[in-house]
């Protein structure tokens, strides 16, 4: 027999693991992401609501959560077990919207604090009408837990009436799953009409997976068919590998059925006795506690790697997106360099002006045309890169994350930024030219602007601007010309690099903001292995 012995190291490892789980994020809309998010939330809820408080305080009362489909008679069952109407029952579905916890008055302190189910606000008043708005704005009305006390329950046992597990109301669904995961004893209620439904079977399978202390109740069985239905249900359970689960049958009785009344004590006596036996016999209690707790601990072995692999998938997807951007910008960068070398800037307007220079065109005009052409080249490269990134990303499901692809407003500013960079290069080039001219000890110093234009043309025009280089050498000497061209060229390369880099960073910024790292995967696995060692 397993018993529950808890060492502080285990608790430490567990809370470290909890933090890791809480820190895991799955922002990219991959195929498995919604599931991973749900798993994470569920695991987190189970750790917070059940495992950690249970291991901290093994002496706390056992919590039996009654769960099942809508209309299965969960509330009626709880009421009947308690012996008075604590939970609303009725004919309209879904009936229970606020979960109700019932315990012995002396156990009240265990549940009034935030020891278990810390997400749920406790309310004490009996059920309010839905119209009453005592809630603060922004407070989720579904996230409340009503705590009731009843003398009829033995000490050390608490019953929780959960909303239906497959409610039409999505919040209820999530809440029910969370509540069931916080139970020491899972009480699964199904009915004669429902015992073959898919939904309760999913639930039973999950219970088996977590190896929780499980008990099933076949509710609302018309007495004519009781034995047959019960037999078939047993057969199905056995087939599913749940043959050893305690099974109770509650008949459908006229006084109970739809009035929300109480079943006679005899109808639920066997279940009640079983529960009391679980609580009051120390050995049984220990076993029940340990079984569910270790079941959850064991389930971590498969659930943590699942989360870790989801985190790894996120990182891989982010990496793919990033590398697509990098590849696009790298290749465009290379293309820009190649075209600069080939003198693609000296084309169109700029070429026409260069042909007319200096007779029919001033140096300023030529310089303007050159700068415009350079800006056009850079802008073309950036938009081409963006387009290529878009195309690659279109095939990536991860690129659907909000904010990753809407880049329309930034295009204008890209033009603006490129224009700024080009103008700055021009200004610096003109300054260099002035410096060179000033140092020249000639009687007739050449016009600095003309020198700047010749340098720019020589740098941007490639092969077809050879004469610009010659002209420059004639004006300021071969040495000065070489120096000027060198400095201007370095400056140009620097500016082009910076522009491409800035634009790439801009493109990657939303992806970086999502904060997808490789660490969570390793951390999750590490936390799990620490936990394994401490057990």
């Amino acid at each position: 027999m397993v018993t529950l012995d808890v060492r502080p190291q285990l608790l430490d490892a567990l809370s470290a693991l909890r933090d890791r789980v809480a820190a895991a994020r799955f922002p990219l809309p991959l195929a498995g992401a919604p599931r991973a998010r749900a798993n994470r939330d569920e695991l987190l809820a189970q750790l917070d609501d059940y495992l950690v408080p249970r291991l901290r305080e093994p002496e706390a009362p056992l919590l039996a959560v009654v769960g099942g489909s809508t209309g299965a008679g969960k509330s009626t069952l709880v009421n009947s077990l308690v012996g008075r109407r604590v939970s609303e029952a009725g004919v309209l579905r879904p009936t229970t919207r606020t979960p109700v916890l019932v315990c012995h008055p002396e156990d009240h302190h265990w549940f009034s604090g935030m020891r278990v189910l810390p997400d749920l606000t406790r309310v004490w008043v009996p059920h309010q009408e839905p119209g009453d708005d005592l809630l603060l704005p922004g407070e989720n009305p579904a996230r409340v837990l009503r705590v009731e006390t009843a003398e009829t329950l033995p000490r050390g046992l608490a019953l929780l009436d959960a909303p239906d597990i497959d409610s039409l109301v999505a919040d209820n669904r999530v809440l029910a799953a969370e509540l069931i995961c916080s139970a020491d004893i899972w009480v699964m209620v199904t009915t004669a009409a429902r015992y073959a439904d898919a939904v309760p079977w999913h639930l039973l399978r999950t219970a088996k997976e977590y190896d929780a202390a499980l008990v099933t109740v076949l509710d609302r069985v018309p007495h004519q068919v009781a034995s047959e239905v019960s037999r078939q249900y047993a057969a199905l359970l056995t087939k599913a590998g749940l043959g050893d689960v305690p099974r109770f049958t509650v008949p459908e009785l006229p006084e109970s059925a739809w009035g929300g009344g109480l079943l006679p004590a005899t109808a639920v006596a066997s279940l009640r006795n079983w529960l009391i036996h679980q609580v009051q016999d120390p050995a049984n209690r220990q076993q029940t506690l340990a079984r569910t707790a270790y079941g959850v601990l064991d389930s971590l072995k498969s659930r943590m790697p699942e989360l870790a692999s989801a985190a790894a998938a996120q990182y891989a997807a982010a990496l793919r997106l990033t590398s697509a951007v990098d590849a696009a910008y790298d290749s465009e960068h290379a293309r820009v360099r190649g075209r600069l070398q080939a003198g693609a800037v000296l084309a169109g307007d700029a070429l026409k002006r260069w042909r007319a220079f200096p007779v029919d065109c001033s140096a300023g005009e030529l310089l303007d045309a050159l700068m415009e052409s350079l800006a056009a080249l850079l802008l073309c490269a950036v938009t081409a890169a963006d387009e290529r990134v878009d195309e690659t990303w279109r095939r990536e499901p991860a690129a659907g994350a909000p904010g990753l692809t809407d880049r329309d407003p930034s295009l204008e500013s890209a033009e603006h930024r490129i224009g700024m960079a080009v103008r700055r290069w021009r200004r610096e080039l003109e300054e260099y030219a002035e410096e060179e001219v000033r140092d020249l000890d000639r009687t007739v110093a050449p016009d600095p602007e003309a020198v700047a234009v010749l340098v720019a043309t020589a740098l941007l025009g490639g092969r077809r601007a050879r004469s610009a280089g010659e002209g420059l050498a004639e004006r300021i000497g071969a040495h000065g010309a070489l120096r000027l061209r060198d400095r201007g060229g370095r400056l140009l390369a620097e500016h082009v690099d910076r522009v491409m880099h800035t634009e790439r960073e801009r493109r990657l910024a939303p992806l970086d903001a999502l904060d997808v790292h490789p660490e969570p995967q390793a951390e999750l696995i590490a936390a799990l292995s620490v936990l394994q060692k401490e057990r």
């Binding site: 073959a196 898919a198 399978r205 999950t206 169109g348 200096p358």
Partner: protein, 703 residues
Amino acid sequence: MTAVTDQDHTDHADHTDQADHTDHADHADHAGETVAEGGRPEKRSPEEGVSEDDAPVEGTSDAAPLGEGDENRTGAGDDSADGGRPKDGTVGTAGHAGTHHARVSEDDDAGSGRKDDDTRTRTDSASAEATSVWDDGLIARRVAEDGTVAPGYVPPVVETRGPSAQAMAAPLAYDGHLRSRLDALRELVGLSRTRLDSRTLSEAGRVLDEAAARRRLSGQHTVVAIAGATGSGKSQLFNALAGVAISETGVRRPTTAAPIACSWSDGAAGLIERIGIPPRLRRRPLQSAEAEAQLRGLVLIDLPDHDSAAVQHREQVDRVLALVDAVIWVVDPEKYADAMLHERYLRPMAGHAEVMFVVLNQIDRLPGEATEQVLDDLRRLLDEDGIALGEYGEPGATVLALSALTGDGLGELREALGQFVAERGAPARRISADLDAAAVGLWPVYATRRRTGLSEEARDEFAGRLADAVGATAAGEAAERAWLRNANRACGTPWLRLWRWYQDRYETPTGRLLLRTQEDEEATARQRVEQAVRTLADRASAGLPAPWAQAVREAAVRGSQGLPEALDELAARAGLPPGRPPRPGWWPGAVLTQAAMTVLQIVGGLWLLGQIIGFMAPNLGVPVMLMVAGIIGGPLVEWSCRMAARGPARRYGTDAERRLREAAAGCGRARVLDPVAAELLRYREVREQFGRVTGVGAAAGTR
């Protein structure tokens, strides 16, 4: 009469049916072939189709009462197979029948070829989709990976979907509106097959196939399926309506494993076959004149459950629900709010409200006034699902409460069903609702909320960018200045020219000397062309649904290949001829005047010189006057020439610019703008078709 003897009877009827079918099918094939051989064009204009189709429709409506009368007289309807024959004969002339069959077989060609594949992929994708929606990871919704738990698993009935059977009853006819919508959808699918992937279009294809298949079958029958959760009493209701215990009922869950059909009148064999119910599962109701009169034409189908752990049942339900004309959803007080029912079936089928009954069964389990409460709650839930409720005479779902066990409220359902079946509108309404659903599914790939197309502005901007790329502005300016310079030089005073010539000797030439010596390669700015095309593509595809935007972009990119080279060549051709710019007529005069002025100066100077050296008689006045006139007149002539040259120079420059600009724009239009506009036109056409499919008319594209 018991169900067993009844079955015999149906079997017998089936045999005759079969024989008749093959006969018919042959006939149809034959007709189709001859027509096809006749070289009939495959595609018809809608008007033609309509006019041809009208005849059979009228014939049917005439013939139907006749046939019914016949059956009434003979009673059991044993010889309905024979009854079908004359009907066909009365439909119209042989020619009419021929065209009709040809049409059918044509539809067949269009549909059945890929039907089998389609159905399979459809169910696959549908179930995958449903699974993904449903399987959201909550602990109650995890779909079994291994599927080990399958209580009450019954192997699915092997379907035998024979050659498409011909109904002997008059086939269904859709009204003009629905028919034109279907035609529009067919056209739409044809138009967009190259642009959209087949997955997007599969739903539309399925609707078309189903519409064609349903249309070939009896229009006098309405197929109604009874669907619901396990244990809600579907089979009980089925039996109650039929009056015989046909379908097995029991406490064992799930009870019914395969669909069972029950037909109130003959001629529905084709319909039942389409659903894939084998003959051994076809039944007849209890024979009673009253029930027969009320529910004539009803084919009722009892379905397995959709919510049990037996996944095969759900697959059967999903398959059959796509094929029937109407559905009765049976819910019970315990399960009426199940998420499975609402999220998985009722919400997606909200558009089918008109062919939907929602029946609250087992009201005998509810105490007195609770029935009304539950019914109201059910109505509220249905309303939240988006299902229109057929209250106050509005079209919508019929909601009823009954007890199949005690028979409470059964009469109401019978009455509603009878009326529903007698209207015979259900198949068309179902197809119409399917069409609506398909249109909603296609909405994102066809519709746009913005006005699309290329604005005049965008076209002008594109032309402007191309002109920039070839350097039209700079070329124009350069030409203007060169002209002006030449004019000045020609008309300037010789002294000024002499000085300039002297200066030029020491001025180092830069780019100017190369001007005439070297032919430029790549004179067009490649990056500007690329950017211009990209901007244009962006503008043109703004607001278009993704596939069409992609097509537009591709058209632009395809057109832009070779555009820079073409512009290079064109710039060389459309540019100014090399050499000196042309001279206006007044130039020689100006040059002569300038020369005269110089001559005056020289003459005056010589005269003065002559006087100084005493060669001539002293006369200061005239030579000084001559010289002064020459000295003042020279610059004056030069200045006035410059003024006069300004206009022609500008004209010359703008002319040069315009020639380049127009050539570039023309090149861009032919290579890029026209293909893009064609693509946009194609989209507009498709959108118009889509508007017709949605039934709002051609003007609905931009709503």
